[in-house]
Amino acid sequence: MEFTTRGLWTMLHGMGFGALYLLAFSGALIELYRAKSGDTLRQESHNSVFLRYYLAAMAALAWLAVLSGAYIVYPWYRAAAPAGTANLAAFPQLLLKSSPSTARWHSLGMEWKEYVAWIAPISSTMAAAIAWRYGSDLRSFPPLRAAVFNFVVISFLAAALAGFTGAMLNKHAPVEGGRTVPVLRGDAR
């Protein structure tokens, strides 16, 4: 069993940073919801510290996802093929555009995903910054807490959309190539 370096980076981008961000979303929602409840002072302080680190970790994951996507995986995706190239397997964008049945995955899927995904790090950084600044005082500012909550929800939707289209794109035209990395060696049965 083996992976290519491009395949590994694509997995790290989508199934590592991106999927972890999406998994973290439900926890953030619960903590933000709890931020309005009347916990004891000690619980409140503990929860606000947890929320600070949790949202900061989510923001870091969102940045890692978009930066690895835009600057490591996307250049491989949009690479130009030398003239006369018949096998487009190493050129995912061209491969998708070569068939009417897959062209929309690029013109709609990738063209939406590549921009909308950036709303996630902007929104989650804002949420983390507010959690750090206000801590347990956030419960005293209901409209501010609501804004943080709503931006986190929108950032999840943007990331989920990017994640879904990324998975579909990689299904129809996987980003592969580069050095081969063996993972498990053994005889076939």
């Binding site: 978009v66 835009a70 600057y71 996307y74 250049p75 949009r78 013109s107 709609l108 063209e111 939406w112 590549e114 921009y115 909308v116 950036w118 709303i119 902007i122 929104s123 950084t125 804002m126 910054a129 507010i130 600044r133 206000y134 005082d137 005293s140 500012f141 209901p142 409209p143 501010l144 609501a146 804004a147 943080v148 709503n150 931006f151 929108i154 943007a158």
Partner: protein, 108 residues
């Protein structure tokens, strides 16, 4: 005001919320601009391997951070009308979502 007993003001938070809306909106506008104008598409090509995406996102992030710094400096020690700030931020965020959706952007 919009609070129920805390000692700090809502200004710093409002600045962060509105700046996030502004940054997202600039992202959406940049996406459409790069798509519609060959000159802007070329301008946004900050990193050739990534294409205009590199410039649009860099400009949006810079705009977001500048807006955040300026608003924070102005509002840090004040209470601001949070409902209005939120409404503006939501509209900007909504427009960003619409502008990044290719079929809608194609209609412009």
């Amino acid at each position: 005001m919009n609070r129920t007993g805390a000692t700090s003001t809502n200004g710093a938070g409002a600045a962060a919320v509105l700046a996030a809306g502004i940054g997202s909106f600039v992202l959406g506008v940049g996406d459409v601009a790069a798509d519609k104008s060959p000159a802007l598409k070329s301008f946004f090509n900050f990193y050739k391997a990534t294409g205009p995406l590199s410039g649009v996102t860099t400009v949006a992030i810079v705009a977001w951070l500048i807006a955040w710094a300026l608003l924070d400096r102005r509002w840090r020690n004040r209470d601001v009308p949070m409902a209005r700030t939120n409404a503006i931020a939501y509209v900007l965020l909504g427009l960003a979502l619409l502008l990044t959706f290719p079929p809608l952007a194609d209609l412009l």
